[in-house]
């Protein structure tokens, strides 16, 4: 019950006027970036980050995480009203949310989405509260080989669980690692992979890469589709929200299943996007009303939303306790932690309990604030989307490049953001996942350090990753996950072959 005491201490940190005001600002900015295409949670947090470098870390993380929650909520607004996901993680919400809105049930769809999302988020925070002490204890036993094995496991789970093309995922991760090695080597001090360009001495900033991949790239993709924002008008009233709230407990199975999927995918780095799709898929397979899915079934809104937010909040646990981000946005925040001079990992809980528990307490509060604010501001943000894209599109571009400039006040960064924008556009069209690239870029240095330390301990023998039960288990698990696509492909072939024979026999 030590955690409960710490949590109360955290509430004392989070519940100051200044921090509550930051929460409100963060959530509102978050909803804005969530609503606008091309400005998602990772990109919004990235652009805001340079402005927090001079702030106190606790205030800064409260502002940035509140923005994250706001963005997750804002993404669902556009999914339901406009059939355009404001965030990749709210794609699954369009399947049933928009049909509901078109049937005149927009208020119900929005209320279901936000309330169940709030539920998922609170489950995520509760899990963090309960598990953090245990995970920290566990992580304190780690030395370099264990750390490298956990990093390996995180990336292997991207390959094995995220469901994309495994080889493309691997290449994406490796490119992130390669970009991370550019610049000064932390061990030997030598300058690596700069190819004589002075501009590369400082290395490639993950903030610039995120602005390019997630901002410019996403915008180019949006423009290519030639989107028209023709939305359903919705007036949110209190009675409609309350009516929905009383109907919500009926969907308890979807709520619990969604939360579990979300928390699981958030802790093992699958991320909110994969979580929401998985939860929708499970609900569609097992629901009693499965025939109604895709035609405006409330359960089809509740399932992805709960998982999306559960994953978003749960992703903070591995970020804080192990230094492994569970989503692209968490990766950006992890990078921010290091810039603020904090060292993510179990020691953070011992050295800076005010920071960790202040953040966790703010997550409870921030998500409740976000549900209320997002419901209250639906008409406002829907109106913003009715501004013609000839105005709003270029404005987003300007904001992205201002963000790129504020990272390091360097001219080549503007070019780099543009180049990564193009890369992001091509990669997304060809199904190369970009989130793993960002994760690898952020933790690349730490992973390399852990690897080199391990090699030093073992005099260059890879057997150190199997040298005790703990590290051995993690490594074996990672290898299994990495090989999973191969197994399922072979198994699929055999099954397909058998089915073919059966068909021929008939």
């Amino acid at each position: 019950m030590e955690n409960v005491g710490s949590l109360f201490h955290g509430f004392a940190v989070a519940l100051t006027w200044y921090h509550v005001a930051l929460m409100l600002v963060g959530v509102l900015l978050g909803i804005l970036v969530g609503v606008l295409p091309g400005l998602g949670a990772p990109n919004g947090v990235t652009i805001l980050m340079p402005l927090t470098f001079t702030m106190d870390p606790v205030s800064a993380i409260i502002l940035l995480t509140s923005m994250y929650w706001g963005a997750l909520f804002g993404g669902s607004t556009t999914s339901i009203l406009f059939n355009i996901p404001g965030e990749p993680s709210s794609v699954a919400t369009t399947f049933d949310g928009h049909p509901m809105a078109k049937q005149g049930l927009a208020v119900e769809a929005l209320s279901f989405a936000f309330l169940s999302a709030g539920f998922g988020a609170l489950v995520g925070v509760a899990v963090i509260t309960v598990l953090s002490g245990w995970v920290t204890e566990f992580a304190l036993k780690f030395s370099s080989p264990e750390y490298f094995a956990v990093y390996f496991l995180a990336f292997a789970s991207f390959v094995g669980l995220a469901g994309g093309n495994p080889v493309k995922t691997v290449v994406s991760i490796l490119l992130g690692f390669a970009f991370a090695t550019v610049g000064m080597d932390t061990v030997s001090g030598s300058l690596r992979l700069t190819f004589g360009f002075d501009e590369l001495l400082r290395g490639i900033s993950f903030l610039i890469v995120v602005i390019g991949l997630f901002g410019i790239g996403e915008l180019l993709l949006t423009m290519e589709e030639g989107l028209k924002f023709e939305g359903v008008k919705a007036k949110v009233n209190l009675s409609g929200v309350l009516r929905t709230l009383t109907r919500l407990p009926r969907y308890w199975i979807a709520l619990i299943r969604g939360s579990l999927v979300g928390v699981w995918m958030g802790i093992t780095p699958g991320g909110p996007t994969a979580a929401s799709f998985m939860s929708y898929g499970l609900a569609k397979r097992f629901s009693r009303r499965r025939g109604n899915f895709g035609k405006g079934e409330p359960e089809g809104v509740i399932a992805p939303e709960t998982a999306d937010h559960g994953a978003g909040t749960a992703a903070m646990l591995p970020m804080l306790a192990l230094g492994i981000p569970g989503s692209a946005t968490a990766a950006v925040m992890l990078g921010g932690l290091m810039i603020w001079g904090l060292n993510p990992g179990p020691m953070l809980f011992l050295e800076r309990p005010d920071f960790v528990w202040g953040l966790i307490a703010s997550m409870y509060l921030g998500n409740v604030v976000a549900v209320v604010l997002v419901l209250a501001t639906v008409p406002l943000f829907a109106a913003i989307l009715r501004i013609p894209f000839a105005i709003i599109g270029p404005l987003i571009v300007v904001v992205c490049f201002i963000g790129a400039w504020t990272v390091g006040a360097s001219k080549p960064d503007l070019w780099l953001a543009l180049i990564f924008g193009l890369v992001g556009y091509v990669f997304k069209k060809l199904d190369y996942p970009v989130a793993p690239l960002v994760l690898a870029l952020v933790i690349g240095d730490k992973a390399e350090d852990a690897f080199r330390q391990s090699m030093l301990m073992s005099q260059g023998s890879l057997t150190i990753f199997f040298s005790n039960p703990l590290v051995g288990t993690i490594t074996v698990l990672a290898i299994l996950l990495l090989a999973w696509p191969l197994f399922s492909m072979l198994f699929g072939r055999v099954r397909a072959g058998r089915a073919e024979k059966m068909r021929l026999a008939e």
């Binding site: 690596r192 270029p394 543009l418 690897f451 030093l456």
Partner: protein, 163 residues
């Protein structure tokens, strides 16, 4: 297929796989400048990146092989219509970056925003310029004044005595 493909998916897959392979090769080449073996303090500076480079090249070749294996498919990467829309949005961004590098972000933003509004949005010049200037003023208030983060300025600001 209703629309004609400007670039086929296979072409783009091949180009991308070759590009990632080239990056992998560059990483290997850059690592060889350092020691890629065992130094005084364990693995040397080039040890880790060299192996990453090798793996990138291998992965890229697998992607290349898969793309060539499936070259019979008729998937489209980009239609002419899509290309037009992407260029109409992308080329002004390029112009904005180039302008900003020489004239600063404020002037760049004013020119870019008002030009897009006039030529693509069909707005008249005056409201477009007004909005552009309003955004520049907002940028100045938010970044250098409020957050104390200066933005890139150019010759105009120097002439006006603003920094």
């Amino acid at each position: 297929m209703t629309e004609r493909a400007l670039v086929s998916r296979t072409t783009m897959e091949v180009v991308t796989a070759l590009a990632t392979a080239a990056i992998g090769a560059a990483v290997m080449w850059g690592s060889i400048e350092h020691d890629i073996g065992w130094g005084d303090s364990g693995p040397a500076a080039g040890y880790f990146p060299f192996r990453i480079g090798v793996l990138i090249v291998l992965g890229s070749f697998v992607n290349l092989a898969v793309a060539l294996w499936r070259r019979g498919t008729q998937d489209v990467f980009l239609t002419a219509e899509q290309a037009k829309r992407v260029l109409a949005f992308g080329l002004p961004i390029l112009a904005f970056v180039v302008l900003s590098l020489f004239l600063g972000l404020y002037v760049g933003a004013i020119l870019y925003l008002s030009a897009v509004m006039v030529f693509q949005g069909g707005y008249r010049l005056l409201p477009s310029l007004t909005l552009g200037v309003a955004v520049a003023v907002a940028m100045r208030l938010i970044f250098p004044m409020w957050f104390k983060v200066p933005l890139l300025t150019g010759p105009l600001e120097a002439w006006l005595g603003l920094y």
